[in-house]
Amino acid sequence: MLPQGLALGGVPVLGQLDLAIAGGATTALLGPSGSGKSTLLRLVAGLLPVPAGASVTPLAGQVAYMAQQDLLVPWRDVLGNVTMGAHLRGQAPDLARARALLAAVGLTEADARKQPAQLSGGMRQRVALARTLMEDRPVVLMDEPFSAVDAPTRHRMQSLSAGLLAGRTVLLVTHDPLEALRLADRILVLGGSPATPAEVPVPDGAPPRPAGDPALLAAQAALLERLAEAVS
């Protein structure tokens, strides 16, 4: 809840908003660049100090975070990157689970011993997804997670992550209407300055919805128009 809105460096970024995110479902937050989506996500993740007068449900320790960059560290191999969380907390890593998750995202046993520099962009993002799942948190925050990979890879990654993240509370920040319509149970569009969220209806059917569905394509066109208006 942000009764006063949020300003960063004296510039109002987010307007007055009261946002409740449904548990166990995927909420997509759409908006043009600079609309405050990432700020909102970082606020929820506890990466920004909560402004005075605002209340954000503290989620420390319950959040897994996946960003646009894969954020793999080059000094650890793939398995080491998947178990990075345990490494940072000084815990013993659950290697069996890490291997199972790598298999679930479609990577082989040989890939697990590779260095990140040896992987393609799509494979690196798969490792990032496995690392996010390895954290096993009820809330998953994704900040344009697939925007850096090519379109076919993005499509495959969306289907894969929808299956693997089912049942968790997901807040997905994206600027891709198709991605939001395929994956989300609820879509919010951030628009205006300072930005406020507005609800947008989602097509029928459970995610991941097929990209060829006519209803979904029509909704994508309408959403695109709406986002274009939000910019002007």
Partner: protein
């Protein structure tokens, strides 16, 4: 490698030709052959002095690098101390080491200690600044990720920021390996009883230019060996560091 050998041989020939043509007296500029003779004849003396200088350089490099790393880590881990330590860091470089060399000899004596101190003073700065820069420039997304993973500040420093800063530290250490001999030699010139600098000073006083050149040659070989060894070790220690020069060669397409 072959190109370097040919270039070196060409320079030697040019030098020899110049001395032969102008008939410069040997106490001004000895011919390469004379320098080689001096190197062989006085080998035992030169080797002894070279060992002293080498020990000073290595000790200085070790202590200076350790001190530089410690300084950078302190600056990174203790933000409040930055205001006190950063000016100190700058002042340590604002005073030219040549100017305080006589003082150091006065305080620490004619032995090895004053030379090591001099080398430490020169080495400390590039290591500290390069490593500190690296520690400050950790990818912000990586810090966000570590924060959501519940990492303590100590874990973030040791397991994220330090490994991420290793390539920067390596740049600092390369510079340090390059300048380390300067510190030791300056110290020996100011006042010493052993070392290549001392030998050169003595040879200069007795107009033995050939011995001077021989000592200079040994010093240059030692400096190059130190730099290449450091570079090789750093490359092996940080294999993930991208090297555009190396990959340029790999990418070259043979026509």
């Amino acid at each position: 490698m072959i190109r370097a050998a040919i270039a070196g041989l060409g320079l030697l020939l040019l030098w020899h030709g110049f001395v032969w043509l102008t008939e410069v007296p040997p106490f001004l500029l000895p011919s390469p052959a004379r320098v080689a003779t001096a190197l062989v004849d006085r080998w035992d003396i030169i080797l002894g002095h070279a060992l002293t200088t080498g020990a000073e350089i290595l000790l200085g490099l070790l202590l200076g690098s350790l001190l530089g790393c410690l300084m950078a880590l302190t600056l990174a881990a203790w933000p409040a101390g930055r205001r006190w330590l950063l000016p100190l860091l700058l002042v340590s470089q604002a005073i030219p080491v040549f100017a305080i060399a006589p003082l150091l000899v006065l305080w620490l004596g004619y032995g090895m200690a004053s030379k090591v101190a001099m080398a430490v003073l020169i080495i400390f700065f590039p290591v500290a600044t390069a490593f500190h820069d690296g520690l400050r420039r950790t990818e912000p997304g990586l810090l966000d990720l570590a924060s959501t993973m519940g990492a303590s500040p100590v874990a973030v420093l040791w397991r994220v920021r330090v490994p991420a800063a290793l390539p920067s530290l390596a740049s600092g250490l390369r510079v340090a390996a390059g300048v380390a001999p300067i510190g030791a030699i300056v110290g020996e010139w100011v006042g010493s009883s052993a070392g290549l600098g001392y030998l050169m000073l003595q040879a200069n006083g007795r107009s033995q230019a050939d011995v001077m050149f021989a000592a200079l040659f040994v010093l240059a070989v030692m400096s190059l060996a130190l730099w290449f060894t450091t570079d090789r070790l750093l490359r092996a220690a940080i294999p993930w560091q991208p090297d555009s020069l190396l990959s340029e060669n790999n990418r070259k397409v043979t026509p």
